[in-house]
Symmetry: D3
Subunit: 147 residues, 6 copies
């Protein structure tokens, strides 16, 4: 187990997009969207938590390189049975930012869980996945439609 | 948005159990179970990452109270289409440990993703959920069979 | 230089209230209050940053004890020449939470600075001060009117 | 709310200078300067706390980029009614270091507060402000005399 | 690998004493003691670094419980061939503080290494060891003379 | 005390190798090597703890620059009276990685101590030292045979 040496790789622009879904009761989604959650603005907290978690990724994922993130955005969108979080992370560095995007997506969704759990403890975090990456030696990767 | 005051609650024994599944290609699971992943012992890393992430939860989930965890265990088990992580967190404190269990489950699974992503970038983290909690004013909660 | 031993003190309910003011141009305050800052909801970010910073206080203030905060609230209010942040921190522990309240007040105000600095780099953080503390051996303290 | 993408900016030498004042009773200042504070060398602690806080800035200010600081210096100076802290932070990166300088100034001053609060709880942190920045697309900025 | 459950243990007063020695060239020790190290007051920095590292122990030692430290003191003493660091950590909690004392001793000594390495890169950290512990189920332990 | 400005230095490939020895009872070493330690896979935990600690170095060593590590490896080897940890850290940056290598070596060894202390509290961490560094203005340095 080691943090593999990436010193020989070039610094290139890289991007990763990850998504996650938090499935919840319709009444919970309703409350969130109407700003009626007692603990406050859930979506603002989720966005911020996602950005901050992206920066903490090397502390949470043991073999992840500490890198300079150039941008992080977390966009929550209401979907049929809950919320989808779409996270985009960018860097100009020697290694990719897939782990940062996935970690941010989890943190954003769990922040919503935390703020709403007193009314809906059964929420489930589903389909945390990488959707797209580009840049670096392994090039572009896109999740296929059917996967 | 505030961290609600729990000073009036009593310190009681509390436990939370969360699970998560990482769906992967059969060949990836095979490699993990046979210890053939180039980056090292994936399951050992996942267990450790989960324990450490449980301790970092208040840094990652904005409104989560910093509490004294008395025990954390992460158990990975092979399932049909990947790995299941079952996390048990215990405390004797004024607030529950659901968020610690969920955060640990995500970190454990994402650590596996990180160590195997070069051979299976399409892995999906599924069904991160609370399965059981006990202790505290809101008492015991168990996820029903059909949920 | 040492972290003094508080093991002989009793655990009691303690509270600390700190305030800080961020002086800014009228147009900046206007933008914040009308939600027109390009970087997003400034007051939500400030509240959250304050809560999170309160939890990080022992990492930032070298001789501060790590304690279990039972509640943290950050309330921003528009005042004549900017924003006032009023932070209330509570614990049931062996030492007070003055440093947590002051640290949270600074972090909340600096978060506003960060999000608005591109339009008003001259903002000044003024009067970061303890206003009230209660609990513990040294008892209650209140800032006098004229100080 | 997002951490804006700075990937398109060039890495340039950047510097930021921030100052803060901690107003205190004359007897408190006297004690500090004569090394008679029971908790130890206050000014050494403040300098170190400032440097360490500069490194923690992206953990404390939510939308702040994690960047490689090339130098940090905290200089405390006695002034009429207390201490002034002058912080200089340097980097060669894609974004400025104003937030690092301001955060370090707050941490240095609050460290003094922490070490002396048992004898002077009424100390007030005043005028935390950016005094100078240079480098980057927005160029040089200096606080005017009268501001 | 798990963080073992200590929830069934009683909270008792506990103390741990650890020591470490940093062996160095006589000229290096001389410089430190006479305050001639270019980077500043080495012993003040070491004391502070030790205290702060004690608080970070659960982040650095994976299976270590996060506990409320009630006191930490780091005392550097000149010895024949360098410096000895004696660290005392106290808590009133369910588990001991041996790891906190050992971690603080290493951090204090390595801080001296860092500040003096440009003039004496060959310094060696020797004999980092637990000297005494008391409290808790396993009771008192003292290192024997000859060990 | 300041974090000296390295902004004028060039980014070059740098490497540092540090070693540490944990002296223990023969029975303890035996248990570790045969995987019979109750707390789990000690060597896997030590490797991971070392890598993670390398990344946390600027949080633990006050004047250490935050830099982008390109690789970290911790290799434990059984020796006559215990375990030796050999840590290699690499970067392409403006300052060296000696402190990261030394910090990782301590963390790896202390993790073993933590996991085995219930059966062998007398273990001693010996000879934590830099063995080799290369790159940067001060060039290559190797510890001589007799030191």
């Amino acid at each position: 187990m080691k943090m593999v040496d990436v010193g020989g790789k070039e610094k290139t622009e890289r991007v990763a997009v990850a998504t996650a879904r938090l499935r919840m009761q319709p009444a919970t989604l309703e409350r969130i969207l109407q700003g009626q959650v007692e603990k406050g603005d859930v979506l603002a907290a989720a966005r911020l938590a996602g950005v901050m978690a992206a920066k903490r990724t090397p502390d949470v994922i043991p073999l992840c390189h500490p890198i300079a993130l150039s941008g992080v955005e977390v966009v929550p969108t209401p979907v049929e049975d809950g919320l989808e979080f779409r996270v985009t992370v960018r860097t100009v560095d020697r290694t990719g930012v897939e782990m940062e995007a996935l970690t941010a997506a989890c943190a954003a969704a769990l922040t919503v869980y935390d703020m709403c759990k007193s009314v809906d403890r059964g929420m489930v975090l589903e389909r945390v996945q990488l959707d797209h990456k580009a840049g670096g030696r392994s090039g572009t990767w896109d999740r296929g439609e059917g996967s």
